[in-house]
């Protein structure tokens, strides 16, 4: 394995800026790694070799000319296939968009390019970001680099697997109910769901608009912060984008500390359904936080018990509306247009052929929840639960600076194990969903391997809205302490591919 691919994003940016490495060397090393391992891992749906090398050459030329380089100049990145990329295929893991070449860049894509980031390609995901295992991709599953027979999490399993397999030092995910944090947890990597509205959704294919949020994925807390700073910030093209300064995430990541902080532990985040090894590593993390000078406060958030149920009404309701745009008229797949069928019939045949089972389930579930007669009982009640969850968070954050929990109730499960059991699959997001419903920020970072299966366990840190910097301050302190205890980053313990 070449040394270049083991470097962090911060190290690569420094070496490219100083001229110790060229951006082309860095891109070639990562493309070679993709060539060597991605047949097994299947993190990428599309590798944009030419585009990546052209961008790398441009970075090197800029440096030659003495021009100012972007903050992550020459650092390769794996982009979740939910963001539009001008001239490069974007499928959202669905057959309905197979072969579609977007005519424009998402705001996030544009910001990455403006920061001189080198986009290696598009990563695999559950279709329309609906899932927790990446098995719902229409293009086949992705393997977890820790054990290729296990899921890499979802929906952003391609992004997390690319990081854990050293195919890229940075990746982008989107988190509607946990799709950044749960993949980070089960692959031993770092993922952040920023405050809702912090990262533009313009050009990000919509699943559930009041919950969807793009965010950074990396192997270290500092790298995630560097990427966070590049992608966050107000965008006039997204009416839900927050018009306020980005919290000082990089400064926080460089000054990790929990001394004097009040850290909450929610009693609803344990019990039945949690794996023993996950609880063990979580309890050790809480002990570590105490040793580092934090005060632990027990919290009661009774509404969290209803979060999963509320989420599986709100997200499908919004998706049933958002996915109505896939009507076979303006772009994407069209099936059955033989001159005799009506537009409506062609739409129904196209959606039948183009959508996978989970998307169909959710579209129908949302249609049901929004139909007259059921609306108040289902969607209306779910919105009330959402208010109660926000209140529980508000009350908690009067007592604590951050909340910690396991990111997921279990470690990575086997590919196929929950594929046709939607309720079992949904439980993977038990701890991550409340944050999406309330709109605040959260991170997952590695806190060890579960003794029973030697697979990574994630520690979730939750902060109030627009206090994303607290995630990085606490995350950096925990990461430094664990790395010292283990003698190396956790990912070093992953078997070689």
């Amino acid at each position: 394995m070449s040394d270049i691919i083991k470097l962090t994003a911060a190290e690569i940016a420094a070496k490219v800026a100083s001229g110790e490495l060229t951006a082309v060397q860095v891109a070639e090393a990562h493309l070679a790694r993709i060539d060597a391992v991605d047949e097994k891992v299947h993190a990428f749906l599309h590798v944009d070799r030419e585009g990546a090398l052209a961008q790398a050459r441009e970075v090197d030329a800029k440096r030659e000319r003495g021009e100012k380089l972007g903050p992550l100049a020459g650092v390769p990145l794996a982009l979740k296939d939910i963001f539009t990329t001008k001239g490069v295929p974007t499928t959202v893991g669905s057959k309905i968009l197979e072969g579609w070449i977007p005519p424009y860049d998402a705001t996030l894509t544009k910001r990455l390019k403006d920061a001189d980031v080198v986009i290696l390609g598009k990563t695999n995901m559950d279709e329309f970001a609906m899932g927790s295992s990446t098995e719902n991709s229409a293009y086949g599953p992705t393997g977890n680099p820790w054990d290729l027979t296990k899921i890499p999490g979802g929906s952003g399993g391609g992004s997390s697997a690319a990081l854990a397999a050293y195919e890229a030092p940075l990746a982008i995910g989107t988190d509607t109910g946990g799709s950044i944090r749960q993949p980070a947890a089960v692959t031993g990597t770092v993922g952040v769901k920023p405050t809702y509205g912090a990262v533009s959704r313009y050009g990000m294919v919509a699943f559930s608009s009041s919950l969807d949020q793009g965010g950074p994925c990396a192997r270290t807390v500092l790298d995630a912060a560097l990427l966070h700073e590049v992608i966050a910030g107000h965008d006039p093209l997204d009416s839900t984008s927050i018009d306020a300064p980005v919290p000082p995430v990089v400064e926080a990541a460089r000054n990790g500390s929990v001394a004097g902080m009040r850290v909450g532990v929610v009693k609803q985040f344990r019990g039945e359904g949690y794996q023993a090894g996950v609880i063990q590593r979580f309890d050790e993390s809480v002990e570590l936080l105490k040793e580092l000078g934090a005060e632990i406060v027990e919290l009661d958030c009774p509404s969290f018990d209803l979060a999963l149920a509320a989420y599986y009404l709100i997200a499908p309701s919004e998706c049933s509306s958002n996915l109505a745009r896939f009507d076979a008229m303006r772009y994407g797949l069209r099936v059955g247009d033989d001159g005799t069928r009506s537009a409506e019939d062609v739409t129904a045949l196209t959606r039948e052929a183009g959508f996978g089972p989970e998307v169909k389930r959710r579209v129908m579930l949302g249609t049901y929840a929004l139909s007259s007669g059921y609306y108040d009982a289902y969607y209306g009640s779910a919105q009330k639960v959402r208010t109660l969850i926000s209140r529980d968070f508000d009350k908690s954050f009067e007592q604590v600076d951050v909340i910690v929990s396991p990111t997921t109730p279990t470690t990575a499960f086997a590919i196929g194990e929950r594929a046709d059991d939607p309720m079992a699959m949904y439980l993977a997001d038990l701890c991550t969903i409340p944050t999406n419903l309330a709109g605040n920020s959260a991170m997952s970072l590695p806190c060890g391997l579960a003794p029973e299966d030697n697979l990574p366990v994630g520690l979730q840190i939750i902060a109030p809205a627009m206090k994303d910097d607290r995630l990085y301050k606490v995350g950096a302190a925990v990461e430094a302490a664990f790395t010292e205890r283990w003698g190396h980053p956790l990912l070093e313990e992953a078997p070689s591919l």
Binding site: W100, P103, Y104, Y196, G197, P236, L237, S239, T240, I242, L306, A309, A310, Y312, L313, A324, D327, A328, M329, R330, Y331, G332, L333, R334, D337, G339, S342, A343, E344, D345, T347, A348, R351, E352, F355, P357, K360, R361, M364, L365, T367, Y368, S371, D376, A377, Y378, G380, S381, A382, Q383, K384, V385, R386, T387, L388, S390, P422, M423, L437, A465
Partner: protein
């Protein structure tokens, strides 16, 4: 709350513009029944005097400056069209013959 029947799923599929196959109807009816049974728990709060939250941000009518700026060319806008004619999207018939 009552469970969901195969006929109701067929109706939902029509509303959702999904031309489901017969075996899909059976399978989805079974699964949706389980899911709806589980999520129906939210009605525990139906009678509580709590305002609903539809969105995490309290935003209304967000506007941006009404400025002319570059947009897609007709060729770019039509680049993904399944069918086109005279610089327009070509679609199957929308109204019946009669």
């Amino acid at each position: 709350m009552p469970g969901i029947t195969r006929e109701e799923v067929a109706h939902l599929a029509r509303l959702s513009r999904l031309e489901l196959k017969a075996e899909e109807l059976d399978h989805f009816a079974e699964q949706l029944d389980v899911i709806i049974g589980a999520v129906a728990r939210v009605s525990d709060v139906a009678d509580e005097d709590v305002p609903p939250t539809s969105h995490p941000l309290p935003l209304t009518n967000v506007m941006r400056a009404d400025e002319v700026r570059p947009s897609l060319t007709p060729q770019e806008a039509l680049s993904g069209a399944p069918a086109q004619e005279q610089q327009r999207f070509k679609v199957p018939q929308i109204l019946g013959e009669d």
